[in-house]
């Protein structure tokens, strides 16, 4: 039974193909999806998404978003999806430092949403860096 993986961001459709399995960074921890998985909708945390196709495993750094899983399909809806080659290490690092600095300098009691946004930014950059710096 095939499993169809589709990854979309607001700007474009990043990936659409049949895969053997998918590992998602769910909000409550990593989820492994094999074909014929039960129907599920889950929130995603920024992190690493892995899928296996023809025996090779590919990793993508993804931002927060959602995954909709049905028996034969996995739809990923996220604000970022970058492969290894597309990640700019220095840029990700700079973005993270910037967000951290901003987070430290602001008053956390005033704007909870902004804090959450900055934390999400940091998590996104971390996901990119983690993927890039993993020993191979």
């Amino acid at each position: 039974m095939p499993l169809h993986l589709e990854i979309v961001t607001p700007e474009k459709k990043v990936f659409s193909d049949t895969v053997a399995n998918v590992y998602l960074p769910g909000a409550d921890g990593e989820l492994g999806i094999l074909p014929a998985h039960g129907a599920l909708v889950t929130a995603l945390a920024p992190g690493e998404l892995r899928y296996e196709k023809d025996g090779t495993i590919t990793s993508l750094a993804i931002g927060s978003g959602f995954a909709e899983v049905t028996q034969e399909k996995v739809n990923i809806l996220t604000d970022m999806a970058l492969g290894d080659a597309q990640i700019d290490e220095t840029m990700a690092e700079e973005a993270m430092l910037r967000a951290e600095k901003q987070l430290l300098s602001m008053d956390h009691s005033v704007d909870a949403e902004e804090v959450a946004h900055l934390q999400a930014l940091i998590a996104k950059s971390m996901a990119q860096l983690k993927l890039k710096r993993r020993p191979r």
Partner: protein
């Protein structure tokens, strides 16, 4: 002879104008293509987002989220998306007419785009904020706007948030449109919007598909809703910005094409006049010479 030179000068200046309008037309055409592509690219995302929302709606109690609760009262905040530059036909005027017709006495404004900001400002309307948006529209620039609007709503300053923008129908036709952003009416959530981003209604099959699958929600339906709704709002704002951009560029392209055509027609007329004047000058010169010869005989 002064007449001849005058005409020549005018032809030159009209030619220059035609060149400029033609260049603007080409630039607008290229930008329009980009904006249209952007709107189309967002369609997959919009469809997926709608799909998840339709599924979610079956599992969550209505009105359970503050962003879904409708309130009594007429205090309205309107986001008006106009253009920064002119020379795009009646685009901004039409939008302004629509805004004026639909606004109540308790309507305040937030603007994107310089043109309507100035007009609304001159009219002495209450304006809360103004946002600048780059071209082409980056997704990240929709966030501060949607965040600001959501905050105004949640803080209870306004009972209703709407967006006024030019909906891109075709290249020749842009429709000034006002949509309600907040509160998200529970029927509307999950219903596909009929503009470029997702131009299909939620079909019966979509709904049937959602019902037939018994979805598991992780962590909980409410938490998923909590993160999904801001995304949805954000995306709606982004989509309207992209629509407005596509409208702006297509309107400019059409206006500039008309201007170029007019200039060309004008050049033709002037050239004809120039040639007539030239011929008349030659004739009168010949006449002078022959009369002089006649007189010498």
């Amino acid at each position: 002879m002064a007449n001849l030179r005058d005409i020549r000068r005018r032809i030159k200046s009209v030619k220059n104008t035609a060149q400029i309008t033609r260049a603007m037309q080409l630039v607008a055409a290229a930008k329009m293509k980009k904006a249209q592509d952007q709107a189309v690219a967002g369609r997959d995302y919009a469809n997926q987002l709608n799909q998840v929302l339709v599924n979610l709606k079956e599992n969550v109690e209505e009105e359970s989220h503050p962003l879904l609760q409708s309130r009594e009262g007429n205090r309205e905040l309107m986001l008006v998306v106009s253009t920064d530059k002119g020379l795009c036909g009646a685009l901004n005027t039409n939008l302004f007419k629509k805004v004026r017709a639909e606004s109540g006495t308790e309507t305040h404004y937030v603007t994107v785009g310089r043109k309507l900001r100035t007009i609304l400002g001159k009219m002495g309307k209450e304006m809360l904020a103004d946002f600048e948006v780059k071209d082409p529209v980056p997704f990240s620039e929709a966030r501060p706007i949607s965040r600001f609007l959501t905050k105004q709503f949640l803080d209870g300053h306004y009972d209703k948030i709407s967006i006024a923008f030019n909906n891109f129908v075709t290249v020749m036709n842009q429709e000034p449109t006002i949509i309600q952003l907040l509160p998200l009416s529970s029927e509307k959530v999950g219903e596909k919007q009929d503009y470029e981003g997702a131009n299909l209604k939620a079909t019966e099959t979509d709904k049937a598909a959602a019902l037939s699958k018994d979805y598991l929600f992780e962590p909980t339906p409410l938490q998923v809703l909590d993160t999904l709704l801001p995304l949805y709002i954000n995306f709606q704002v982004y989509q309207t910005l992209v629509e407005a951009r596509a409208s702006e560029h297509s309107a400019r392209m059409v206006a500039m094409k008309a201007a170029t055509d007019n200039a060309k027609k004008f050049i033709k007329e002037l050239t004809l006049e120039y040639n007539k004047a030239r011929q008349a000058a030659i004739t009168s010169e010949l006449l002078e010479i022959t009369t002089a010869m006649k007189a010498m005989e």
